[in-house]
Symmetry: C3
Subunit: 357 residues, 3 copies
């Protein structure tokens, strides 16, 4: 087991204190583990934040459940009463308890494997783990405590901060810069050539992509996600932004702070986003446009123009979300609308006939 | 050549017997190879199951063609008559003949390469091939006859069944479980961290993903497809399910048996499917919903609510497929519908004018 | 630095001569570097080809700007006058200057690393670079000057031309054929098994995929893009075609010359395209259809039928682009159209009431 030791048990009271929550029920119960509502046993703690699952609160065998401020369960007659920990933000509180009980993946402390290739000119920080078959290029800098898993390729002149994790087969092309606590999931590609061609007399001539990619602190890049290097200057992903899996970010994009770009989102070249933008799964964004701060786009939206800040949008082409919902409701009723139009036409023809002398 | 030996020739009669088919024409002809209808030569066998290609039956130079029960070709005047093998299910019969004549890729029998890294604590079955630069972590179990290609990373505590194939650069994160005869195509990622963040005061706090992924027997995972590990418990892909390329399966999904999830499908977290579900290319599925047994969704569908069993659906948002076809037909005629509405409005205004005293 | 030497400075006049352009302004200015309009300094050259950025021409600090034949800037009062180089095709001209000043990525000339595995039966050309941990299978042929980066796997019987670049973790399955000057970005997969299953009695039986993939000269394959091998015969990508990132090409597709298939495009099996086809981001193409020469499809289009040559198309299902624009305009106005229909119905009811005796 990577996580060698089982979690240390904690009482409900200790866990409540850890998240500033209020206990209802048995505060002395011992909790050893986090688990889902339907699978949890009496020594497990679970949570309820999605109302869809509220009914499980009356049947769960969990020893303890983290819930919202006003949430209680109905009288239970099955002889089991989960303790409740009520907090403002049960999802976040449960996350704090997960971190306390289980922590994050423990990375093998192997130092620099003799089976890795590390260029002599590379500068490697303290307590860095570099796994077998990783390749670290010329002049690369890697900060303290960073983990480089097998089959990672870091090309020349890359700068990587401290406490980063690069999972197997992730690739960073030359001259890219990664902040601190950056995570690349397996197969992520940072800094490949931008899709830049000058078409001349029917030939697509490749344009040298002389820029790079800069990832801010705390950026996470999902598995097999691709971030193109800039044609010139830098493709930017600012601090705190999390990319899902198989996302594609085109060259020269400037993605703001604390964005959530969910799996399979695609953003074409030179687009930019403000802070706290959320793009749900499979959203597409055209090139050279700007999405304002705090914009949230529903799954599969097609965004082809600038979006003002704070908008919730949806649909293809993307529209104000409330409007989009009305549009799609009518869209699904088109056969009925056409029938009504046909009836109107027919009645109108009747009326015209009658009104003729 | 990996496949060192050319296929052993078989007569049309032998092949027909192999698939329980009826021969029309020259049963003694020698067949050495499978090939497409338009490329096949007189020693090749081909098949016809898609009516789109029916005309080729009258021009093919194939020595033999596997066809449906009632299929024959028109009188040919070009001096060539392909033998026919008629069966109930010509596509499946042709597949049986392909397996007989050509077989599957022959994997190099190299044993455990001295250039692979295999943890001492790993338990490796009989006749396992582990290629150079593969990495097998602590406590990993690998069943008999499994093939591990170069640059595969198997992290700690993974259990892999027998007769599996893991192609280059596929990655399995710690604690995941793979059944027997599982195939990971190149770059597939099993068990990376789920996209789980608790947003608190504007910061997206990573939630430890302490669950795993469980793949049933005979699951195939396409190239660069990503299956996230569960936040807690397991993301499940049940037996016999085949995932295309660049598919993304979110954390805690439970995918049923014998599903076909075609390339670029995306399924958000905690969604589930019944058995024999088919999702065509680029379909998107929202989180926390259930798709019933035998549901089939057309390409690019956007599924945002539970789907009852046995439904054929299409469109965004997904609708009953027949309804969707009518909706999209009218959708494409919207300019005409608007014109008709305008005419109605204008005629109505005329009538009202006339009817005024 | 990979590119060890800074670019050699050139005068505006030299650069103009290189691209056959006409100079307006200071022809003796020394230019050392290419840069974007808003970042460029007085020794930098930039370009303007997208009218969206025209205003920057009046504020840029660039020493020189490549522009179209008729482009000049307004009188500037800020004491700086960029030299202009006017050409027919400023984007292509700027590309030529980029190549002159910066060139393409300089590949480390390392020869064949002793840490790579190269089968004895492989035939490797002159001046080939094979990086540590690359694996070259039996009977592989690699042409002169080709670069094979770390963690590349080339399976048996593959033929690769000269001047190719295979970036880290790209994979080529057995028996595939790559032309000259082919580029595989990181994680690209060429020749994995096609998604072929014969479903029989509820079981999806894998069909051996005995074909291969053939990539023409000058094909570029983006990061994590997947090209399936043919079931039989070959999946073809013809010369000069450029695939973006996370594209999926199904088995037996025949993609024409000089196509641009942008990121996340998905093409189902046995589809084909003519020459100079452009499919923008996230376009989906159904199987067994043909897209004619010079067709251009807007982003996210869903193409489910043959498309005649020279068409510009858009939408789902794909339509003539001009028609699609009208359709989507009305689509977004559906709530208003329904309101108008309701008014017509109501007025008609009034009229009918009145007209009754």
């Amino acid at each position: 087991m990577i996580t060698e030791l089982p979690p240390t048990p904690r009482t409900v009271e200790e866990l409540a204190a850890h998240v500033g929550g209020m206990v209802i029920g048995d505060k002395d119960r011992q909790i050893t583990r986090c688990n889902g509502l339907t699978s949890a046993g009496t020594a497990d703690i679970s949570f309820l934040s999605n109302h869809k699952y509220a009914a499980h609160l009356n049947t769960t065998r969990a020893g303890c459940v983290v819930v919202g401020k006003d949430t209680v369960y109905m009288q239970r007659n099955d002889g089991w009463e989960p303790a409740l920990i009520q907090t403002e933000d049960p999802y976040y509180s449960f996350r704090q308890i997960l971190v306390l009980l289980h922590g994050f993946r423990a990375h093998p402390q192997i130092g620099i494997s003799p089976l890795a290739v590390v260029a002599k000119s590379a500068r490697i920080g303290e307590r860095v783990n570099i796994h077998p078959f990783a390749v670290i290029g010329e002049n690369v800098e890697i900060g303290d405590n960073t983990n480089i898993y097998p089959h990672v390729a870091i090309m020349a002149d890359v700068r990587i901060g401290r406490d980063c994790i690069m999972y197997p087969s992730s690739v960073v092309y030359d001259q890219c810069v990664l902040g601190d606590r950056v995570i690349l999931q397996a197969g992520a590609v940072v800094g490949c050539d931008g899709y830049g061609f000058a078409t001349h007399q029917g030939i697509h001539n490749k344009i040298p992509q002389i820029g790079n990619v800069v990832l801010g602190d705390d950026v996470e890049v999902g598995s097999n996600t691709v971030i193109e290097r800039a044609a010139m200057e830098s493709t930017l992903i600012r601090a705190g932004t999390k990319l899902g899996n198989s996302v594609v970010i085109g060259h020269n994009c400037r993605i703001g702070e604390h964005n959530l770009l969910v799996s399979q989102v695609g953003i074409a070249g030179s687009a930019s986003t403000g802070h706290h933008v959320v793009l749900a799964g499979q959203v597409g964004v055209a090139g050279h446009l700007h999405i304002g701060d705090m914009v949230r786009a529903a799954a599969q939206s097609g965004i082809a123009q600038d979006i003002a800040p704070n908008k919730d949008i949806g649909g293809t082409p993307s529209m104000d979300l409330k409007h989009a919902r009305r549009v799609y409701m009518h869209f699904m009723q088109l056969p009925d609308l056409v029938k009504r139009l046909r009836e109107v036409e027919s009645e109108l023809a009747d009326l015209k006939n009658k009104s003729q002398p």
